[in-house]
């Protein structure tokens, strides 16, 4: 009997939870704020779904109800992607080591 592809996705999901668990425990506490902003940015990969939804309209009616939700979601997710990665970069650039020349 064939295995439902859902089971494969579930396996990926469960294993990723474990990866997340171990990876996040190794994050240094001083970087917990950048961790939150970068997780924010990457969870906006939901934009993939938004793009599919946005492009689903027929060429005669680009804006139907379903694609409008898609466009709105693209807008929101894009704020998060750009905002999240840039603010993380801005924060991380501030973390400096003590100057050695002292």
């Amino acid at each position: 009997m064939e295995i439902d592809p859902f089971i494969f996705r579930l396996s990926i999901f469960i294993l990723s939870i474990f990866i997340g668990y171990y990876v996040v425990w190794s994050v240094t506490p001083s970087l917990h704020t950048p961790l939150m902003s970068v997780t924010n940015a990457i969870s906006s990969v939901i934009i993939v779904g938004a793009i599919i939804a946005g492009l689903a309209g027929k060429s005669t009616s680009i804006f139907n109800t379903s694609s409008i939700y898609g466009f709105l979601a693209i807008f929101l997710a894009a704020i998060n992607i750009f905002g999240g990665f840039l603010v993380t970069q801005r924060m991380l650039a501030m973390y400096k080591k003590k100057k050695k020349d002292k």
Partner: protein, 465 residues
């Protein structure tokens, strides 16, 4: 046009890059590279989506317009936002992820053909369950984050809002969410989908209002976790590996942060979530205690004490963020260092309004991160230090947590500030912290209270050094 298998492989690659992005945060040196991996992963995911759809008609232009408009807004916010406003920003961003998840679920529900999920009114049951989970969790994330944002921004009072029958009401709503999801799967009615969304927005709102301002570190991590689970739910609907991996990563990341924050307060997760902390035993406390004498001093006294010290430990808290005193503090420390005084910073896990809040502010003020220590790393050093300079922190230094089993914060890990030869406590007044309890440290023999605005006091001390 990509084959489905090829795009699945690219989504997998971007998922792996996201894992590396988090992995990079294990140390500040590798963190910037990690962020770059994250950006590459995102670019791959978006590009592959465009190529695999291959529909470069008029719709494509609009997708680009919305993408760039959002990108512009996001970039603008990222460059303008002051570092002290990070908690609000993160809460705001969480709400956007939540709402985006809701919109994607809605559009998948209205136009399932675009996602290969069946036809309207005849969507595969499995997909329907997955998209309901994504939509419900997304809606909860959205309204919960809005409340968290308003509380952090000060638009809404940080005080917990409680009313009679709150918990039964929440339980009732949660049960009806499950029933509605079941009904939705059997009838596929769009009215039910809207109802489901409405009560999910409502429960998100109700879940966060009873939680007090100082519990925000837990709330914000929890919402971080929710936004991940919402993304994962949508990932299952869209059968997209990148989204599933990311959702799981973000979900567990937020959950771990909530756990760390709860542990930092010695409270169970449910205790925080059920809320209402700090509003209960305040009245009995203040009336039963008579005025105890405190020693208060001015900037001159503080400067004198520090000048004669050989090591100083600084304990920053939320008050430092409010007063924006981090730059003034670093200038003071620079002067101390010129006088060959050893200075280090001690950070409590729940100092501030979000995990790592103090570290970011100190980094902004150019404090090298290897002078900043976590509770366990530095707690033994207080006994050997000459001066502890407490700026904007309160409950996290309260020795009552170690001595009085009756105290609501008993058992919470605290910084052993009282073991220092002398303690300088910058505070505007003697008022208790959010826990509503008096800090024994104020009345200790070796404590000198400095009643002033944190920033002004720090500047004055620097002048007197």
């Amino acid at each position: 046009m990509f084959s489905a298998n090829l795009s699945a492989i690219f989504y997998l690659i971007s998922g792996v890059l996201f894992i590396l992005a988090l992995r990079g945060l294990s140390s500040p040196e590798t963190s910037r590279q990690g962020n770059l991996f994250g950006i590459i992963g995102m670019v791959i995911a978006i590009t592959v989506t465009f190529i695999s759809i291959g529909n470069f008609s008029n719709g494509f232009i609009y997708v680009l317009i919305f993408l760039l408009a959002g990108g512009f807004v996001g970039a603008f916010i990222a460059y303008k936002i002051p570092m002290t406003a990070m908690p609000e920003l993160v809460a705001g961003f969480h709400s956007l992820v939540g709402l985006a998840a809701v919109f994607v679920a809605l559009s998948a529900f209205l136009n399932p053909e675009a996602f290969n999920l069946g036809t309207p009114g005849n969507i595969k049951i499995g997909s329907l369950v997955e998209m309901s989970i994504g939509a419900v969790v997304g809606a909860i994330t959205f309204s919960g984050s809005i409340i968290a944002f308003l509380k952090l921004q000060g638009i809404m009072s940080g005080a917990p809002i409680t009313f009679k029958g709150q918990h039964p009401l929440n339980a009732l709503i949660l049960v009806s969410i499950i029933i509605l999801t079941y009904l939705l799967c059997s009838t596929q009615s769009s009215n039910l989908f809207w109802m489901l969304l409405t009560i999910s927005f409502l429960i998100g709102f109700l879940l966060i209002i009873p939680i007090g301002g100082a519990d925000m570190p837990v709330v914000i991590s929890m919402l971080n976790s929710y936004s991940g689970w919402a993304a994962a739910g949508i990932g299952f609907t869209l059968e997209n590996t990148a989204l599933i991996i990311t959702g799981a990563l973000v979900g567990s990341s937020g959950a771990i942060l909530s756990y760390i924050m709860c542990k930092g307060m010695n409270r169970s997760f449910f205790n925080v979530i059920l809320g209402g902390f700090g509003a209960t035993d305040q009245s009995t406390d203040s009336s039963s205690k008579e005025q105890r004498p405190v020693k208060s001093g001015n900037a001159d006294d503080a400067a004198f004490l520090m000048k004669n010290a050989s090591s100083v430990i600084i304990v920053p808290g939320y008050g430092m963020a409010v007063a924006q005193a981090q730059h003034a503090l670093r200038e003071m420390v620079d002067t101390l260092k010129k006088n060959d005084i050893k200075v280090s910073y001690a950070i409590h896990p729940v100092a501030g309004r979000m995990p790592g809040h103090m570290n970011v502010l100190l980094a902004e003020a150019n404090v090298p991160y290897d002078e900043v220590f976590e509770l366990e790393e530095i707690n033994n050093d207080f006994a050997n230090a000459d001066v502890a300079f407490v700026i904007g922190a309160n409950d996290v230094t309260n020795p009552v947590a170690k001595t009085d089993p009756q105290s609501p914060i008993y058992g919470m890990p605290v910084l052993d500030v009282e073991k220092c030869k002398s303690v300088l406590f910058v505070k505007r007044s003697l008022s208790p912290g959010y826990a509503g309890i008096d800090n024994d440290l104020f009345y200790k023999e070796n404590t000198l209270m400095l009643f002033a605005d944190a920033k002004k006091m720090t500047e004055d001390i620097t002048k007197n050094l």
